[in-house]
Amino acid sequence: MTAHSNVPRTLPRFSATFDPHTLSEIRRAAATGIYDIRGGGTKRKLPHFDDLLFLGASVSRYPLEGYREKCGTDVVLGTRYAKKPIHLKTPVTIAGMSFGALSAPAKEALGRGASAMGTSTTTGDGGMTPEERGHSSLLVYQYLPSRYGMNPDDLRKADAIEIVIGQGAKPGGGGMLLGQKISDRVAAMRTLPKGIDQRSACRHPDWTGPDDLEIKIEELREITDWQKPIYVKVGASRPYYDISLAVKSGADVVVLDGMQGGTAATQDVFIEHVGIPILSAIRPAVKALQDLGLHRKVQLVVSGGIRNGADVAKALALGADAVAIGTAALVALGDNDPQYEADYAALGSTAGAYDDWHEGRDPAGITTQDPDLWSRLDPVKAGRRLANYLGVLTLEAQTIARACGKSHLHNLEPEDLVALTVEAAAMAGVPLAGTDWIPGRTGGY
């Protein structure tokens, strides 16, 4: 034993900058020479709805009885121009996710769950499948840059049309579906050879900019005889200007997706470093609508990291008309379920962290085109779980709204909120809790 053995030593310390995950990514990049691709949304901690709190009613405002007094939840989307707006019983919709990225049972389950709760589901890159049309009482048909599977017959079958400019996980990027998931059926729907890496364009092929978009919207309206609501979806980056231009172009509904929103596959660096959190995007979008005199006339749907009824209520209080869920809906179906822990471990991951959705080996049978894995997902049971979850989101949002004295979720307002952090106060435009201070703004209660 040496003289040094009794000297206390500091514990090994990892660098906050070069943390173990960062080091592992450097090693992976050095070994392969290619960026990391994965599914899902950003995994970093961001200012989010958790940084906001509601001010329950007290002396200055009175609440509604939790189990006796009505608190409405319905919303009508597409009231601006469409002859047939769609009426949802809950303001929680299912975001666009493609057959191809998802299995057929997963798409069916999304349709079943959404329909049971009176809300809509949405197609994705690759077109509309008979299964999802058949199981979705309200189906939004996405119109994407790739136009894979784009078909006027399906356009006429849709209840609404969503022109996708971008998504929160990768604003400015196109779709990606790697060869492992391009099965015979997916290839046929997209008019592509089987097994190739499908990299969709990031811009639409036949229009550029808002002036063209206005003409494109006019074409879609003419083709569908002005029946269908037309949504425009953007990834959150410059929400005030993007929403202004989408509305100027004639959108009935604008969909704003924050960087927490998931994707089937893209570069990790894109997911983590491009776009802004949904918390920071809602108020500028609402301001754009208000400046145009169209708030509540052009409906705003927001998405990206919605997990519970509090998130729903906070999004609506900040001015959204509805929200959309994607990742949370997949979890409700069974994504990343601990019952498949051994399978996740075999793939080098763990339940809750699995994000290699692009590889098509999802043990839960959701993000795969492998028929053997499909059989693990019962679309009826999974649809029931989704319906249950949608019901909980709605009940939770109602609980909060009643506590704030609101007879409809849409009566929630920014004045019902405070922020826990200076950052959230500035982003959401609500006071820091216990103060009348909204960073960057003047005025008080």
Binding site: R147, G179, G195, I196, P205, D212, I215
Partner: protein
Amino acid sequence: MNAFTPDVTFDLAEAPLRELNAALHAATGDSNARRWRVLNPNGRHALAAGVDAPLTIEVEGHVGYYCAGMNQHAHIIVHGNAGVGVAENMMSGFVHVRGDASQAAGATAHGGLLLIDGNASARCGISMKGVDIIVKGSVGHMSAFMGQAGSLIVFGEAGEALGDSLYEAKLFVRGAVKSLGADCVEKEMRDAHKALIAEKLAAAGISGVDIGDFKRYGSARRLYNFHIDNVDAY
């Protein structure tokens, strides 16, 4: 005005476009309203978009964006120039532009035949998915970008980056090609390809063309699956 005898004449100077398109959508081709003449188009957008019936529609003048968009079954003749995206996403039928066409002619179209007597601008046949496009003049840059299926036959020349990121669309150009896009290469012109051109020209009612003058271009298929060694191609 040509010798065409219409069953219905619709004057856009007298009635709105929405009324015309609604009438065309209501027409099934089973009644006696099969032959339509449209007067005074004056560059209107989305003219005859979304038609889904075996009608013949003759448009007497220039049209704006997306004329004949998503056409199914109809035979649409434009006696003038066409704006951006003529016959975009066409599924079937025949669209004939007597003059020139702007950008993105036949974009993403899945089927049918698009014949352009004059020139077509940039991105002709972008993301084409099965349509046949014949251009008697020349096409602009980035034509057939990401073309997936179908054929593009150009009597004149092609601009820069022809067939960039091409999938399985077949490209035939008689004149000079300024440059080829990523993964697009000249390929051997075999008898089957000459027969294919002859078939498409015959379908368009074109004869007397020396098919031997065309060169064939297609995908090298090197970029079908991403490989780091090909990164410079992007």
